[in-house]
């Protein structure tokens, strides 16, 4: 049995006197679907930024498959299989969906270094990109420039870009942010359908989606991990209820959507 796919040890980050991450220790076993929840400003996105190297931690270490990656630049972490998506679409507006994903595939296969051969010498890369788009039902619009795609399709393209890098650990920052309920179900179904080899951590505010798709839940508050456990444990945890609903004890049903914590 091998160790966790991703682990952090004593991860800490401050902006001036504001501590945004305090001594964060998490361990994600291989293939598990983790939800990361917590009120706004809890440090969820900061944690993703720290893990992926977009931010440098003040102290602490990050391990991918048991290897210390704390000193690696973001792109090398991606090359090793630690990949993220963004809460706000961060795409290539004038590239078509197919071009965007082909680009990501070429970066993985190192074809992107080749400037003396034309793209049509790389049918394997193009086909891979197309297959990823087809799996996310984007094949019909794959020749459209990204900026012309519907918002929900752009959210899927975010995930397609991440998949093109062949992630081992996938960090999804509010994948369904701004997507209507019916579509967000579809989007999460696509995430749930990912290979069980991939470890997934997603930030999500919609508790129904969290309880439906997560096998484990991490709750963050004030830059700290408050509790961690199976969804039904989290749903009945008094600390979590206090954070989300104030001090007054209120009945929490498993499928209730917690209001007032939207983005």
């Amino acid at each position: 049995m091998s160790g966790p796919a991703l682990a952090t040890r004593g991860l800490t980050k401050s902006f001036g006197s504001l501590a945004v991450a305090r001594d964060i220790e998490i361990e994600l076993p291989k293939g598990v679907r983790y939800a990361l929840i917590g009120p706004n400003g809890a440090g969820k996105t900061t944690l993703i930024n720290l893990i992926t190297g977009m931010l440098q931690p003040g102290s602490g270490r990050i391990f991918l498959d048991g290897v210390d990656i704390t000193a690696l630049p973001p792109e090398q972490r991606v090359q090793r299989g630690l990949v993220r998506t963004y809460q706000i679409n961060s795409l290539f507006p004038h590239l078509t969906a197919l071009e965007s994903v082909t680009l990501a595939v070429c970066e993985r296969t190192r074809a992107a270094r080749i400037w003396w051969r034309q793209l049509n010498a790389y049918p394997r890369e193009i086909d891979q990109a197309y297959d990823i788009l087809a799996a996310l039902k984007l094949d019909a619009v794959c020749h459209r420039p990204t900026r012309e795609l519907a918002y929900g399709q752009q959210r899927l393209l975010e995930i397609a870009l991440a998949l093109a890098t062949r992630p081992k650990v996938l960090l999804l920052d509010e994948p369904a942010a701004g997507v209507p309920r019916e579509e967000s179900n579809e989007l999460f179904a696509a995430i749930a359908g990912l290979s069980s080899e991939i470890t997934v951590l997603f930030i999500e505010h919609d508790m129904e989606l969290v309880f439906r798709f997560a096998t484990q839940v991490i709750v963050m508050v004030g830059g700290r991990v408050l509790v961690q456990g199976a969804p039904h444990e989290i749903a009945t945890d008094p600390q979590v209820r206090a954070v989300y609903l104030g001090k007054a004890p209120a009945p929490v049903k498993g499928k209730q959507t917690v209001s007032g914590v939207g983005s």
Partner: protein, 328 residues
Amino acid sequence: MALAEKVTSPRLFLQAQTRWRPAEIVFWLATLSPYVLFPNYLSLASQIAIAGLFALSLDLILGYAGIVSLGHAAFFGVGAYTAGLLSKYGWGEPLTGLAAAAFAAGIVGYATSFVICRFRHLALIMLTLGFGLLLAELANTLGWLTGGMDGLQGIHTWKLLGIFRFDLYGRTAYAYALAVLFVLFLFARRLIHSPFGLSLRGIRENFVRMPAIGAPSRAHIRTIYTIAAALAGVAGALLAQTTETVSLDSLGFERSAEVVVMVVLGGTGRLYGGLVGAAIYMIARDQFSGIVPQYWYFWIGILLVAVVMFLPNGILGGLAKLSRWSRS
């Protein structure tokens, strides 16, 4: 795009993008017209071809990778002085002179690219400007080598391929400059349709996203900056060889600014933009400076303002829009 609807196979679609369009063939045939239509303007035509190559090299970094440079003439100048000095000190063979110039400018480009790739936007503009000024002053200080203010004299370019003498009318010069431009254009065209070219467009479109798909953007930028520098060096060498002189302004600020204007006029990120921009700029300069020598920049200024205001994607961008509009 009509094309996208018709072609369903992803491979075919990408292949279709690299296919030669009729307008391109017309364009290159038109470049031969000066021999028939304007035989008295062949030296202007070769200046245009050289400026076009220089603009093409800038478009690779400005239009494709989004690197705004105000010091691109540094590489043009290095190329010009390399070819000029080689010739002055006994080796006037043109093609090897070009290769030497490309190599020298490429080395300088590669060396500076390590700094360039760490910066974006305003800092980048200031850095390239600074490098350009440094090199111009260096050339000025090394007067014993470069001829300083008087320019580099005593250049003699040998016959092209040992056969064609560079004549007074510029017949050989234009054929030479045009052939070099065409070959390097093919090279650039291939490059932008390569996987690497796609990565450059990614860098231009969303620099911040690139690391998140595992792209070593800095390495990509170093590569294209070096290539663009080498191409600019070839353009400089062409000027040195065809005019048999090199002056300090070959690496001055004005030349750096001029080439940005050419690319913006024609349209960035479309390969032909620099070529069209160079032609319009050089012809406008030739015509306007004939009419009102003191004020010709005034007209260039008006042209630039008009293009940027009404054709934000340059003249070619405007034409592309027009053709889309007329088809629909």
